[in-house]
Structure formats: C-alpha cells, structure tokens
Amino acid sequence: MLTQPTTIVRSRPSTILFTMLLAVLGLVVACGTASNPSGGPATSGNTPGGAVVTTTPAANTIVIKNFAYVPPSLTVAPGTKITVINEDKAPHTVTATDHSFDSGTIEGGQRGEVTAPTTPGTYPYICTVHPYMKGTLIVQ
C-alpha cells in the first residue's frame, strides 16, 4: 500500500518573530486606542449599568489626574486657599506663569495648597515638572 509522503513544515525563527511583532503592534495600538486620553477629564465614566457618572471636585479644589487639571479652569474669590490633590503617581506642581502662586512639588498621592492672588484677574498656571500641563485660575 502506498502512503502519502508526509511533509513537515517548520517555521523559521524569523517568521515566528515577525508574527509576534505584528501581534505586539496590534496589542499596543489597541491599548493606545482604549486608554484614557490625557487631555480629557478623568473624573467621568460609565457604571456597569451604563449610566454616566461625573464627579466634580469639591469647591476650591484642583484635582490632578492622568496629567491633567480638573477643572481646567477654576474661579475663586481673591485670597482663597485652594486645595490641590495629586491623584497621579508622578509629582506635579500648580505654578502660576507669573509666579504669583506656586504649590511647590506635590508628590504622587499627596495634597498641597495654593493661595489665590488678591488682585482679580486671569492667571494661567502650569506644572513645572510637565510644562505641557496647563490650567487657568480666575480670581474675581
């Protein structure tokens, strides 16, 4: 009886690595798409039931989460003490670009405080560790 010749196909290591590269690329792209964008407010989300929940920071409070200030613009009275809550792992600051207030470095998971200027006006502020993080304090 004649038997069919058996052909064993062996994948070359380079083929395996190339396939793995494609898999990793796909995974990273998928994770990048699904992750929370840094610029968006990090305090809203969906409950398992589908309802949208939005958490507003307490009055006179700036929350830092995912390298963004929430709210991005805060209005307070002159001289108000503002609590800064850093919910990131990385250190951040709340520093006025005109240096009228500065929280100093607030380590991850810690709280700090700034005092609003006594002169009404609009005060842009940044994080000196990550200068692309921007917020605005309006004193009126």
């Binding site: 290591p13 380079s14 395996i16 690595l17 793995m20 590269l21 990793v24 690329l25 990273v28 792209v29 994770c31 990048g32 992750s35 929370n36 964008p37 840094s38 610029g39 995912n66 390298f67 963004a68 990131d88 792992k89 990385a90 250190p91 470095t105 380590e107 991850g108 560790v129 990550h130 692309y132 993080m133």
Partner: protein, 140 residues
C-alpha cells in the same frame, strides 16, 4: 555552539527579558499621560514604540541565541536607560521631531523602569562572558 546554554547564560537571559518586559509595561502604562507632549511625534507615541521594541527584544533573547538578538536588545535597553537619565537631568529642549521630554523628577514607576533597564543592560553585556558560540540568524 554549545548544545545547551549554561545556567548562568540562561539566568542572564531571563533577567534581561524580565527587565525589558517591565520596561515595556511601564512605557505602555505611561504612554497616554504623555500624549499631550508633542512636537512632530508625541512622547506617548515614542513610549508605545519603545514598548514594541522592548517586547520584541525580550522575545529575541528568550527564544533565540542569535548574536543579533542580544545586540538589538542591548541597544533597546541601553537607549531607554540613556534617555531616561538624560531627560531627568538635562533640559534638552525640542530635538528635531522629538518633543522636550525633560522631566526633573523620579517616581516609583519611572525609577523601577530605569532599574529594570539597567539590569537588562548588565545581563546582556555579560552574555559574551559565558563563552558560548552564538548563532547568526541564517545558521541552523
């Protein structure tokens, strides 16, 4: 070539792969937070690219005994370690298409990532000490 790698060589390869693996995880975890820091390419995209390269490098040193895989992994881990140290201590500014990634701070995830990269570099640099002959990709 040695028929089987020595225990020392195996241990070094596992250490290198683990270091590269944590490097990949940390960069992917942090990527979305750095999307806002951009020039031609964003820091977030660079972090995702590092993730892909680190995973590929880890697979290379685990699954093959190619010299090219060790050199590639050494370049990936070494460049990551060099970059994190450079941008921690030097305000490089925008460099061609690269954003200014100056971040004058250490925090646990970043520190651990740098330690993992350093461990990978040491483990990979030690590979020639094991005295085994290495394969080139074309050899059987």
């Amino acid at each position: 070539m040695s028929p089987r790698p020595s225990a020392g060589e195996l241990l070094a390869r596992v250490v290198a792969a683990a270091g590269l693996g944590y490097d990949a995880y940390a960069h992917l975890d942090l990527a979305s937070r750095f999307d806002a820091n951009t020039a031609v390419i964003s820091q977030g995209m660079l972090f995702r690219a590092e993730t892909v390269l680190a995973v590929l490098a880890a697979l290379g040193v685990l699954l093959t005994r190619w010299r090219a895989a060790v050199i590639f992994a050494l370049l990936v881990a070494g460049s990551a370690l060099g970059a994190v140290l450079l941008y921690r201590y030097v305000d490089v500014g925008v460099l061609g298409p690269l954003p200014n990634m100056y971040e004058p701070a250490w925090y646990p995830e970043k520190t651990l990532s740098a330690v993992a990269e350093a461990a990978a570099v040491l483990a990979l640099a030690a590979q020639p000490l094991f005295g085994s002959e290495w394969r080139s990709p074309g050899s059987r």
